[in-house]
């Protein structure tokens, strides 16, 4: 057991007072006063509507918000349950607001939820982001019921998103995770998850809580650990995911570094698990799938192609140490075309991602520099994807993403052959 248990004494005392619970929903937060009230009410309504006979607990694990987030959580409530339910819920929802212990970051907040789940002997748990605007009470049912009633250990979310939304997920994280571990978890870094008490216990035992996982990368870590640990994994369709607008000042290169760095680091940890996997299998799905209207997304393709061309011109010295000579020659050739005719073939992209994973593995250059140098290539591929699918509907786009996934699977031997050389 990891002795550095993240439960502060007041939280432990409060949990002892409440006793055992059946369902626990955790909400990690940091300065989410504008949105967290809606999330808390949705969770409360979800408990009342779908788990009226269960002992339930809502736990807000806060990272020291200065905008009054904890007060919003304490005060948020549904004034009139009759609009939601035929009868008033028979059980009260326990609610705890607590700061977390450890390195600042979502990972430490989630760890507190795991520890609380262990302390309260929760049978089924879920985590939902505090910035969600589209969460409904049904999300709680969809994330918790597969665990509580079908004995699944991990429930990943399935969303409908705009065709150009989540491009890092679509071009790197989903296809790479799928090719590596052989499970088709469509949103491995979705942010909302359901999990069993057994899995929460297993998460807590992992010696990662003083590492980068505590800061960022907790989502992909949870998904990968569940898959590689042979836990029963499924996914639930939650509808549209609309969350608070991210700070536009957030640097794409930093975000890409964090996300891809976490995936590559997990490749190292689980090298023994993925080398013998070929192809992939679907995971069971829950929920009623329906189409949703999505807000249009503006994309500046010209700027993306410009950054890609600048990368080819300026970063050749770095890329030559990372990319296979054949891949490098292909990448150079791509920069000769601009405008709407620009294309970044999926085969070249997948080889480039595998070359970056290999360079990360053998520490060809400083890892942060390596990951930051991926940004122009990623933007080139994203621009190409936007141009290729300009006239496509959601289904066509999903087929295009499927083609990317199949290419990752087809080229996996390329990665395996070079991994230990």
């Amino acid at each position: 057991m990891n002795d550095a248990a993240p439960l502060l004494e007041p939280l432990r005392a409060r949990l002892a007072e409440i006793g055992e619970v059946d369902v626990l929903v955790g909400i990690p937060s940091y300065n989410n006063a504008a949105t967290i009230g809606h999330v808390v009410r949705a969770v409360q309504a979800g408990f009342a509507k779908y788990f009226p006979d269960q002992r339930t607990l809502l736990l807000n694990s806060d990272g020291g918000s200065s905008d009054g987030t904890p007060d919003v959580v304490q005060n948020a409530s549904i004034s009139d349950f009759q609009t939601l339910l035929a009868a008033h819920p028979p059980r009260a929802v326990h609610r705890i607001v607590t700061p977390y212990h450890g390195i600042p970051g979502k990972g430490s907040a989630v760890r507190t939820v795991f520890a609380a789940a262990r302390e309260a002997k929760a049978r089924a748990c879920a985590i939902v982001d505090a910035d969600l605007r589209s969460i409904t009470p049904e999300w709680i049912d969809l994330l918790v019921s597969p665990v509580l009633r079908q004995d699944y250990d991990f429930v990943a979310p399935l969303y409908h998103r705009h065709k150009y939304d989540g491009t890092i997920t679509n071009s790197i994280v989903y296809p790479l995770t799928r090719a590596l571990y052989g499970r088709r978890v469509r949103q491995p870094i979705g942010g909302e998850f359901g999990f069993s008490g057994r899995l929460a216990e297993a998460y807590l035992e992992q010696p990662v809580w003083e590492s980068e996982v505590a800061r960022f990368g907790i989502d992909i870590w949870m998904t990968t650990t569940a898959i590689t640990g042979s836990f029963r994994v499924c996914q639930a369709f939650l509808g549209a995911k609309i969350h608070d607008a991210k700070d536009p000042g957030v640097d794409l290169a930093a975000m890409l570094t964090q996300v891809v760095g976490a995936v590559f680091a997990l490749m190292e940890t689980h090298a023994g698990s993925w080398r013998d996997v070929s192809g992939s299998i679907p995971v069971p799905e829950f929920g009623f799938e329906y189409t949703v209207g999505l807000e249009p997304v503006r994309v500046n393709v010209e700027r993306m192609v410009g950054i890609f061309a600048s990368g080819v011109q300026e970063l050749a010295e770095i890329w030559e140490r990372v990319l296979d000579p054949e891949t490098m020659a292909q990448v150079r050739a791509l920069a000769a075309v601009s405008g709407d005719a620009f294309r970044f073939p999926v085969g070249v992209w997948v080889r480039a991602v595998y070359d970056f994973a290999l360079a990360h593995h053998r520490r060809a250059i400083n890892r942060e520099h390596l990951l930051k140098s991926l940004t122009p290539l990623y933007l080139g591929r994203t621009a190409s994807f936007v141009l290729e699918t300009a006239g496509s509907d959601a289904n066509d786009v999903e087929e295009a993403i499927e083609a990317v996934c199949l290419e990752y699977e087809r080229m996996k031997p390329y990665l395996i052959e070079r991994w230990e050389v």
């Binding site: 939304d165 890092i168 975000m255 520490r363």
Partner: protein
């Protein structure tokens, strides 16, 4: 007179032989020290090569950009072999000093004492140069990457300027540490650094007004997505 000449000759020869006899043990000791130095040098070299191999020193030099500098300078040896050779010659030099000291010649002893007093400064100056080189490479690459990813104009020039500034700083610090033309070095550094900064300020002010305006707009008008034109959330 004859007797006196013969006595003098014999006396001189006697003094010479006495000198030789006094000098010979020192010379022999010096030769022995040199042989021992060569043996220790070879042992240090072999051990260093093995340890550097285990520590993957060549790979570190590759990632730090040191190997590419050597290649550009047409040095074909591996960095680990170079460092091992450097250690070998350091050992040889140290034993050479000890051997010279064993000869018990005052002038040589004074020179050796002065050299050993200066050696720490020389080593720290070389250390400063090495750290400056590694830091310059690292920071200039970080600046180049940041400039490319931000779609800034002339990213390579930005990287080179950063590298040049760090090189100037470390070179001046190294010369100052080695006590070579101290006052001239400090004066030259101040003038050169000031000139570079002024040139940069002028270049940015005159040539990069638009860049500065865009940068300030992006910083202060964060909500204005039109500055970039993307709504992509990426993850």
């Amino acid at each position: 007179m004859d007797g006196s000449f013969a006595d003098r000759l014999l006396g001189a020869l006697e003094a010479f032989f006495e000198g030789v006899v006094r000098f010979l043990p020192g010379l022999l000791a010096a030769l022995l020290i040199l042989v021992l130095g060569a043996l220790v040098g070879w042992a240090v070299k072999a051990m260093a090569r093995r340890l550097l191999g285990v520590a993957r020193f060549d790979r570190f030099c590759d990632s730090a950009g040191f190997s590419s500098i050597l290649t550009r300078a047409d040095v074909r040896a591996k960095p680990s072999a170079l460092l091992a050779s450097l250690l070998f010659w350091l050992v040889i030099a140290s034993f050479l000093m000890a051997a010279a000291s064993a000869l018990r010649v005052d002038v040589i002893n004074q020179l050796i004492a002065a050299f050993f007093l200066y050696l720490p400064r020389l080593i720290s100056a070389l250390g400063i140069l090495l750290v400056g080189f590694l830091l310059g490479n690292f920071v200039s690459r970080a600046a180049l990457l940041a400039a490319v990813n931000a779609n800034a104009p002339s990213p390579r020039a930005i990287g080179l300027v950063v590298k040049f500034l760090i090189a100037i700083l470390s070179f001046a610090m190294a010369l100052e540490q080695a006590e070579i033309a101290r006052s001239i070095v400090i004066a030259a550094f101040i003038i050169l650094f000031g000139a570079v900064m002024l040139a940069l300020a002028l270049a940015f002010g005159l040539g990069g007004r638009d860049v500065a305006r865009h940068a300030l707009e992006r910083h202060f008008l964060k909500g204005d997505a039109g500055a970039v034109g993307d709504d992509l959330t990426h993850v």
